[in-house]
């Protein structure tokens, strides 16, 4: 009897503690609040909860968090050579990965203060929304829904891409029409999947999709000849072709099925963070435009006379301070990571297995689409 009574008492105390814990939201507390919460609980099924004021993520909140943490957390791909992958030494490398390094250089003056988090196509937006990552730099296409409903802001296009189609060379397929009745491998949760449906419907070509969960299983199925063709962004095709058993046995068709502007993405609600991310892209563009490279940046710093280059490097004005960074932020980017051309050539240049001609991704003065607003 006695032990049972002790147990009942214990259970009561435990439940009381649980009630307190359950009510311990940041805005409630104290005994009076418990009573209030209990009353509300009874009304749950019918009552619509009163609208809470929207707590803004806040101007400057992200930078403060990053500075306090001491590292930048960057959501990247780990499966696409040239853009985001883990190289033979176990180090993250690629075009999108180097952007993260540039951002870390701008913030900390140290390009190594980045923690890379590999995220899949399906989980990337949730990771960004929930604050698990500070920025998403993972060959992500800029689109309306992603800019609005998914709660993100695209910073700027860093790579102008288009969706392509790869087929085994010995099939003799050269156009989308040749794929009539065929099976096409595609990855789920991507704009690629939607574009494929759009383009094939517009062309009047009937096909069967074979849809897979990630890039590895999509291309594994293609390698097993489950499908006649595989589709993704052309950059992705070039990149994945390098890891197929015989890269020369596969051709990328001369068709572009969509516009795919790829670039980094930040959360809604912190304009300062958006500005920092965006002007980091422009610093990379302008470095190339002004001919400033990681090799000559110190010479330029000593002898620069052009006013805009001087403002970029922090010799004149206080542009860095306006972004909430130090005034040598752009100098650090160019010194530690290099300009756009250096980043491009390191990952996608002619000397790499993932060579992609620059095409649209040239400066506007060279007939491309890269155009940075003035630094002033």
């Amino acid at each position: 009897m006695t032990s049972r009574r002790v147990f009942t008492l214990f259970a009561l105390m435990l439940t009381a503690a649980l009630v307190l814990a359950a009510c311990g939201t940041p805005t409630t507390g104290g005994t009076e609040r418990i009573v209030e919460t209990v009353v509300v609980t009874v009304e749950v099924p019918g009552a619509a909860p009163a609208p809470l004021p929207v707590p803004p993520a806040g101007y400057g909140a992200t930078l403060a968090t990053v500075l306090e943490r001491g590292t930048l957390i960057c959501g990247v791909n780990s499966q696409v050579p040239g853009f985001g992958y883990i190289d033979a030494n176990g180090v993250f490398s690629g075009f999108d990965v180097d952007y993260c390094r540039a951002l870390a250089a701008a913030i900390f003056g140290d390009a190594s203060k980045v923690e890379f988090r590999p995220v899949t196509a399906a989980e990337r937006f949730t990771a960004l929304q929930s604050g698990e990552i500070d920025i998403l730099s993972r060959n992500t296409t800029w689109s309306t829904v992603r800019d609005t409903e998914l709660g993100g802001n695209f910073v700027h296009t860093t790579f102008y891409d288009g969706q392509g189609m790869m087929v085994p060379a010995d099939t003799g397929i050269t156009t989308l029409q040749d794929l009539e009745g065929g099976t096409i491998c595609v990855q789920t949760g991507t704009t690629t999947e939607l574009n494929l449906a759009d383009v094939m419907a517009a062309e009047g070509v009937s096909y069967t999709p074979a849809v897979f969960e990630d890039a590895d299983s999509t291309f594994a199925a293609y390698a097993e000849e489950r499908c006649d063709a595989v589709t993704t962004d052309k950059s992705g095709l070039v990149s994945r072709r390098t890891v197929l058993a015989d890269p020369s046995a596969h051709v990328i068709l001369d068709v572009t099925m969509s516009k795919e502007p790829l670039g980094p993405m930040v959360r809604h609600g912190d304009d300062q963070w958006f500005d920092i991310a965006q002007w980091t892209v422009f610093a990379l563009f302008s470095g190339e435009e002004f001919g400033i490279t990681s090799a000559n940046v110190d010479d330029v710093l000593a002898s620069a006379t052009a006013p805009e280059a001087r403002r970029l490097l922090g010799l004149e004005g206080d542009l860095g301070l306006k972004l909430g960074l130090s005034n040598d932020w752009a100098y650090n980017i160019l010194k530690l990571v290099g300009n756009y051309a250096e980043v491009y050539n390191r990952n996608l240049g002619p000397d790499t297995p993932t060579y992609i001609p620059r095409g649209y991704n040239s400066l506007y003065v060279d007939g491309g689409l890269l155009y940075a607003p003035p630094f002033r």
Partner: protein
């Protein structure tokens, strides 16, 4: 102790265990509700911070993606809701086909495991032990990448008589296509069912009268077949035309094509679940006491008659409850389709989730679907269980 009980009436309310118990339960209920409400509010606040709210309005939006295997007309301009239904029907198809074949195979295995012939017994035992100790996911990937994708290309297809095409794009078999006399044939099918029911009722009544156990299923089935076959030839034109598969460009046209994903999923689920059903059947048979079999033999029943009239009816009572949970397992395990790209309800919902960004809604919908499916299956099996229990005297 004695003195404590005589004083019950005098115990004050805060020490009365009956009230304390009630109070404890009430507090517990409140805590659970409060915790649930707190979590719900937390989620809602989080969603609002992201600028989204809960709601199923999006489900009428255009899906924008294609699905490989659909049991009804579906295209990229259909709605998310229709895409969900496609997945739902695919899950139902796999579950029903899987349950059917795993039951047949499982019963054979269960009986074989108790066979007098040692070779049969050892084979069955070996199979059961192997299957029950494999991981289903590994087994599915093996069937997909190791078997069905290793079949030859369409141009080099293995052609079995029929013709049946075995290719890495699927297995194509001839299939009947309804002709203009098919509506009339539907009436004949109904007639066949009617005849079977009448014969079964008559045999049952006769069995009651004479005391001789009738072979009800055999004769009812035979009468159905006779009506259906006679009806086929009685019509001016055959109600179904053979649609033969043939290679056409990059695909196989005509016939019925079972995709590698479907084949791998069904093969994996059937072979795996059948092993468990085999064990359930064996346990059920062994639960029938030895004396029953000896008594059946003593009154001159043959081995098959003993099985059919004495062992199975009694074993069934033991078998049904664990068999139900095997059926539920098979249906729930079909969600592993995501690993091999078969568009079942979970896979399609995942795609919808990605394309619409509605995680909470879609996961809730999927959970409700599996819950409902399992509850319906077990309700049916419980009903059947009660029905056969009533036979007991």
């Amino acid at each position: 102790m004695q003195s404590a009980e005589t004083q019950t009436a005098a115990i004050p309310i805060w020490r009365d265990e009956r009230y304390l118990n009630l109070l404890g339960q009430a507090i517990f209920a409140v805590v659970i509700l409060a915790a649930g409400y707190y979590l719900y509010r937390n989620m809602e606040a989080g969603l609002r911070r992201q600028g989204t709210t809960l709601g199923f309005g999006f489900i009428q939006g255009t899906s924008g993606f294609d699905i490989a295997e659909t049991l009804f007309e579906y295209s990229r301009s259909s709605t998310f809701w229709q895409a969900f239904q496609v997945g739902l029907l695919n899950t139902l198809l796999v579950s029903v086909v899987g349950i059917l074949f795993s039951t047949i195979l499982g019963v054979i295995l269960g009986v074989a495991r108790l066979a007098a012939n040692p070779l049969v017994r050892w084979l069955a035992t070996g199979y059961l032990e192997l299957m029950r100790n494999l991981s289903l996911l590994v087994f599915l990937v093996f069937w997909y990448l190791g078997v069905f994708l290793k079949l030859p290309k369409i141009k080099e297809a293995v052609i079995w008589p029929g013709p049946t095409f075995l290719t890495n794009r699927g297995i194509a078999i001839p299939w009947g296509v309804p002709t203009e006399t098919f509506p009339a044939y539907r009436l004949i099918l109904a007639l066949g069912v009617l005849a079977a029911i009448l014969i079964a009722a008559a045999l049952h009544a006769r069995g009651r009268r004479t005391g001789k156990p009738p072979l009800t299923i055999l004769w009812a089935g035979a009468s159905f077949v006779v009506v259906v076959v006679l009806g086929w030839f009685a019509l001016p034109a055959a109600p179904l035309a053979w649609d033969l598969p043939y290679p056409e460009g990059l695909r196989i046209a005509g016939g019925k094509i079972f995709t590698p994903e479907f084949m791998a999923l069904v093969s994996g689920l059937v072979l795996y679940t059948a092993a468990f059903i085999g064990e359930v059947v064996r346990a059920g048979i062994q639960a029938v006491s030895r004396g029953q079999v000896e008594a059946a033999r003593a009154i001159g029943l043959t081995g098959f008659q003993t099985l059919r009239l004495v062992i199975f009816p009694q074993a069934l009572r033991v078998i049904i409850p664990p068999l139900t949970s095997q059926y539920l397992n098979l249906a729930k395990n079909s969600s592993l389709a995501i690993a091999i790209g078969y568009p079942d309800v979970f896979y399609v919902s995942n795609t919808i989730l990605n394309q619409s960004g509605r995680a909470v809604e879609m996961i809730t919908l999927v959970m409700l679907t599996y819950l409902l499916f399992s509850l319906i299956t077990s309700a049916f099996m419980n009903w059947y269980n009660r029905r056969i229990q009533l036979v007991e005297r």
